[in-house]
Assembly symmetry: C2
Homo-oligomer: 496 residues x 2
């Protein structure tokens, strides 16, 4: 057997363990009964330990070192090896004990967060989160060798990204977006009360499934379930699942979670399954992942053309609620810009203030300038400062998102990166795809999906995010694409 | 750390892997999209391999050998060690390659069985099953040292059981039950057409949940889902799940699967969670497991007293269907004895002919006297011989059950053993529990559950099946208890 084949086998085994953990996590978040939590945490910790042992084995290290000098490999194989070697060296910085402790702490913190959010009681969560933040600070030290300690965490989600670069980007966001949102605030607000009438759950569910089908989501390789925080997960490129959240008094939650998670899922379903376990079957970065969900959600889903195709179906499902609402009214309602409490239901523009706040808080937490017990007050102050709103309680404030309970610090910035990549990619899609807008208006999403498959999905992790962005659009990430898109769209919507 | 503590830690880790596999299996049978099958098979195979490596590690072997000579251990600890040492030695007979091949073949055979059953096409299943039967024959050789090769498989489900003993038992079944069923067949049949009216799915579902609650099933440590073949599974003693099957044109399927799986689940929920991973937290044998489901399903659930408590609720849920049906009519209808095609919906008596047929077929398959391609014809001939019925197609014939696709040969006999143990235990329960029948009639199942917890559940695997049976009833398994129960009940029902 060739060294490369041995490498493939080892990587597949590691992937098997990681995907098994993903199944246990998915189950934990969708179906597991409450008392199952303790043993589940232990089981996940055991799997994490085994996965880590395999990912840092002497055998794998030797093989990777040998292969990294093998000049007979193809370009793709070489990239796989160099990326796997980098992961191997990163993984070696962790002890198995640390990995297991982290996994167990995460499961416990997640359980505590669920209770804390339900009971609006930050104190239930705080001691667990404190433990977790300590571990993450320790993790930054273990990983070492970064200009800023937070860089170490950023790199787990967005390889190559830097705190310093994000500071520049978020300065643009702050300056340009704040000014623009202020101009909007001076204009009369559009009507959206009809979004909050009673919308039957089953009808919503069926409509969401239709949207997913139309996008090209393959239900033979996936399924949709409900969860309190919508997410996409995959257990192979042929088992990619989404969850949605349905609120019978707000049609928005289902619509945007279906399209958003659908976008993520199309990316995963488009990754090459024959490369299972290797970097070439993996997504580039979370920023690029988010570019896929945001492109569908915002650039496509929040456009008038998209609803010209889909609004008649929605109106048919809910004739009473929407009888006097035109597609233009519906389009205006879904694009209301207005500072709000909850990130996941924020509009396209103020959304980035939520991310900005997380970025500042996480940086301070990791730097040790902020402690967990100070979080609620600090959070509320930032929301006052950037969004001009009072946070009425922690459940809709600092407790709103699942991420920190998962130990995901450094994750939030990728949400903004994703939106900005999406705007840049979509400009290019419109140039390259003949009659794209007319196809969307007809409800034919195939040309766009084919383009994304060709430009993004099929490459796996072959390109870095920056390389991919250049390959697609001819330049590095540039905030101006997003700002141009926003200015054009919202100037028209608000008659600026 | 003491040797015993090290042993506990190792065993917990092995259990974590086994339970992780159980989650992946549960998902495979309940929620996994069809294309997920291939990678899932690979993931399960990897987990099986890792579990096997841990369960046969030199370290564990040395520890068990040391501990087996440690006289300072308690009686319970000693039993744990001797049972774990036996499992260790059994596991050592398998290579990791064999375990992984078996796991992968099982997943593939299961997928093939699903398709074959849906399409009524045995040929889709046959090549996979052939491969699996070959592996099982090989397994018998690996395990070696049994009087009959089939004993090796029987022992995986019912430790200590022998083909020779089962032959004696099934001779009793054949002689006594066949004669009794013949007498019944000469009598006029009871009415049960109302069982097959349209019964709304959601109403059935809710009624089933009520039955489970009444039995004492803890929904904080479990949940119910749907599947094509109802089963109970657990991922710890605090996460014990059941599935049910609902047929809107047959109220029987939901009722009997809920009570049956509920009985299994109560056993698992009653096992000591503090002993997680050790034999003392495990069930005795599948025969004893089945005694718990059968006791609830037949001795309790098919009694008139049980329905005196529950029929008013059912009638309330389906007033139209049941308006002219008295509880006595309902009781008679649920106890109709009539040879039929499908094991899981067979009555209490002819049920054992289905098991008898499986026993004879499995024995012949393992002996090599029968091949997979001969199965459908052989099956149909046996059904003619023992049940006097023609099998119209393989889907309701040889393809009806999931077990063989799981590689579970030697499993079926435990179904009959379970019914016979149940009859024997229930006689004792009635002697020991003050006013048991009156409590059941009131819908109070707690005294019975408490008795089962005390007599069976809390002991884990401390006793063997035979020891447990003697501890409870003062004697070994005796078919006469079942035959007495059957004679008394059905003589009255059929006026013999």
């Amino acid at each position: 057997m060739s060294n490369y084949s041995s490498y493939q086998i080892m990587m597949r085994k590691i992937a098997d363990i990681q995907y098994a953990s993903a199944v246990l996590n998915w189950d934990q978040e969708s179906y597991m009964p409450p008392k199952g939590a303790t043993f589940r945490a232990q089981q996940l910790s055991t799997l994490a330990g085994i996965g880590h042992e395999l990912a840092t084995s002497k055998e794998l290290g030797e093989l990777l070192n040998k292969l990294s000098e093998d000049t007979s490999l193809s370009e793709k194989e070489k990239r796989n090896i160099s990326q796997s070697l980098k992961s191997f060296n990163d993984n070696k910085k962790y002890s198995t004990e640390f990995v297991q402790l982290l996994s167990k702490t995460i499961s416990e913190t997640f359980q505590a967060w669920q209770k804390a959010k339900a009971d609006n009681n930050f104190a239930l969560y705080a001691p667990h989160l404190e433990k977790l933040v300590k571990l993450k600070r320790e993790e930054c030290k273990l990983l070492g060798d970064f200009v800023h300690p937070y860089d170490a965490l950023l790199n787990q989600y967005e390889p190559g990204s830097k705190t310093a670069d994000l500071e520049v980007l978020f300065t643009d966001v702050r300056e340009q977006l704040v000014a623009f949102v202020k101009k909007i605030a001076e204009k009369p607000q559009n009507e959206d009360a009809f979004m909050y009438l009673y919308y039957d759950k089953q009808q919503q569910w069926d409509f969401g499934l239709d949207l997913l089908k139309q996008m090209g989501y393959d239900f033979e390789s996936g399924r949709q379930d409900e969860s309190s925080h919508p997410f996409t997960t995959n257990f192979s490129p042929e088992d990619v699942r989404v969850t949605t959240r349905i609120n019978v008094n707000d049609i928005n939650e289902m619509i945007w979670s279906c399209i958003h998670e659908g976008g993520h899922a199309l990316y995963e379903q488009g990754l090459p399954s024959e490369e299972y376990g290797l970097p070439s079957s993996e997504y580039v970065s979370l920023g690029i992942h988010e570019s896929q969900s945001r492109l569908w959600e915002n650039n496509v889903g929040r456009s008038l053309l998209y609803w010209k195709a889909n609004y008649p179906k929605l109106k048919n499902a809910f004739p009473e609620n929407l009888k006097s609402v035109s597609v233009e009214d519906f389009y205006k309602a879904m694009n209301i810009v207005k500072p709000s409490l909850i990130r996941t239901s924020a509009d396209e523009l103020t959304y980035h203030f939520h991310v900005l706040i997380r970025f500042e808080i996480e940086k301070a937490l990791i730097e040790g300038l902020l402690e967990v017990n100070e979080l609620p007050a600090y959070w509320n102050q930032k929301y006052k400062e950037y969004l001009g709103i009072e946070v009425p309680n922690d459940a809709s404030g600092v407790l709103q998102d699942i991420h920190w309970s998962h130990g995901s610090f450094g994750y939030f910035p990728t949400y903004s990166l994703g939106s900005f990549y999406a705007a840049q990619f979509f400009v290019q899609a419109k140039i390259e795809i003949n009659g794209l807008e007319a196809e969307i208006e007809k409800g034919n999403m195939k040309p766009l999906l084919d383009w994304l498959r060709e430009k993004v999905h099929r490459h796996g992790k072959y390109y870095s995010a920056e390389e991919l962005c250049i390959a697609i659009s001819g330049e590095k990430l540039n905030f101006k694409y997003f700002m141009d898109y926003a200015t054009k769209k919202y100037s028209k919507l608000y008659d600026l």
